[in-house]
Amino acid sequence: MIDWLMEPFQHPFNQRAILAALLIGCTNGYASAFVVLRKSALKVGSLSHALLPGIAVAILVFGLHDWSAFLGSLFAALLIGLGSLAVSRGSRLDQDSALAILYTAAFSGGIILLRRIGVTQEMEEWLFGNIMGLRDGDLWTNFWISFGALGILTALHRPLLMTLFDAEVAATLGVPVRALNYLLLAVLIVVLISSLQAVGCMLALGLLVTPAATIYLLTDSTHAMFWGGALLGGLAAAFAVLAGWWLNIEQGPSIVLVLGAVFALAFLFSPKYGLIARVRRPRDRQA
């Protein structure tokens, strides 16, 4: 029994995976508070799908390197994001519709392209992640992304929260709302890309929404949402990697599933905002 529990800690690729899960989970969990408070989960989800064609094109043009996938996905997210803005400004369509059209078209193109260039094996990894395949270099990349993203988001905490709460009032108080919105989106995209290897672009959204959404059901404090989200994201991802090893299931889906399970618990049993508490207390009282 003990051997079985301790087994995953003995392989270097497992140790790397656990470390990466902690790192990626923490950063995504922290950033997820911004996604939840900004109510932009769908937008971020669209962008995460838009990463795939970028990876495909980059592999086609530059061959399969770590940096080609990273740059390709970054470029694709930018292109789709700005493209949707251009389409919505240049027509009567809203940005969400434009985004949906662009990213599904691009995603389809990406799948066809990845099949054509014969990297079906890798495609599975790009879609659903392969955290066991991480190398030391990937770990360092993740570390620097986490460091930079957390640094920027923490430093700009005050104006960012004001922007999220009420952008117009924030602007009248001297907050450069538009620049901060672009910066936030850029940081979220980089964080999203950093989680690709762990959970793939189909599941990345789960890691970038669920942690803070769960905490949101448990507390009224924004600080708790940020740091609680980071803690929950990191621990849940690391635990899921272990559980994946013990139960012999894929780590990527396992991470998102564990987070989903914790969310379900909070949804049901949260003392203040849980379903059961609500049913028991028909009229909303103050806590």
């Binding site: 430093a155 005050r158 999220l164 709460f165 117009e168 009032v169 924030a170 602007a171 949101y216 404090s221």
Partner: protein
């Protein structure tokens, strides 16, 4: 020239004027406002009155610096209003705000100190005491640690006012402050606005309820894409001028 520590214009010798000259604002291709001119000063309580889509919110946002000015200019104390000013506070319609946002009353009021505290500096004792004073003036002391999701409409409006006070604003721009309030809260808010103007602030609010205009405001700006009339309530708030703004009551309403 002006002591920056003073709280409102009542304490300084001269009047502060807000002048709007030939203002035009365009949304894409549509003229939201054109040729709007009026001038008022601290100590006045001004009602913006006009039909839906007349540009009331647009005018408030333009004065707040939120919208680009297509023509004309807005002067506050003789200088052109920049993109933002600590002295001008904008209070949005309550329905445009996400009241489920996890933040306390004090947290919202504290945002008013952003111009003073800046991006990183921790809030100083001066900031905190300004926040305390604003919360006290608006009677929110008992509620300061409460989540904004648990407030009534009148309390929500007072939180916005407290934020403007913490900001030490001279001009308060309110978008539909009375809409959706119950009778008691309406009366209380009217009293508060009166008090704030008596202290020397300039209050400009868009207003829908014709029955209460005379009780609350000193001056009226009738607005329908352009300034139909501006002046003291007794002179401007007349049946003839209202007809000109809204269209005759029995005929078709102007769009």
């Amino acid at each position: 020239m002006v002591n920056p520590a003073h709280e409102s214009c009542a304490h300084c010798g001269h009047h502060h004027e807000l002048q709007v000259e030939g203002l035009a604002v365009r949304y894409r291709e549509v003229d939201a406002l054109r040729d709007v001119s009026f001038s008022t000063s601290c100590g006045a309580c001004v009602a913006l009155i006009g039909p839906n889509g007349a540009g009331k919110s647009t005018l408030l946002k333009a004065i707040a610096g939120l919208l680009p000015v297509a023509a004309g200019r807005i002067l506050w104390r003789g200088t052109k209003v920049a993109r933002w000013s600590r002295e001008i506070a904008y209070l949005p319609q309550r329905e445009n705000v996400d009241w489920q946002f996890p933040i306390t009353v004090r947290g919202v009021v504290r945002m008013g100190r952003f111009p003073q505290a800046g991006w990183w500096r921790p809030f100083s004792r001066t900031d905190e005491s300004a926040i305390d004073r604003a919360i006290g003036m608006m009677g929110l002391a008992d509620l300061e640690n409460r989540q904004i999701s648990q407030l009534s409409g009148g309390q929500q409006q007072r939180v916005f006012l407290a934020r403007a006070l913490a900001q030490e604003a001279h001009v308060l721009l309110l978008d539909e402050p009375f809409t959706g309030l119950d009778r008691t809260s309406k009366a209380a808010l009217a009293g508060t606005l009166k008090h704030l103007t008596e202290e020397g602030r300039l209050v400009i609010a868009s207003h829908h309820d014709m029955d209460t205009v005379k009780d609350i405001y000193d001056e009226v700006l009738l607005l329908h894409r352009r300034a139909v009339a501006f002046g003291p309530v007794a002179e401007v708030f007349t049946a003839a001028k209202l007809d000109e703004t809204f269209g005759p009551p029995d005929g078709k309403e102007a769009a």
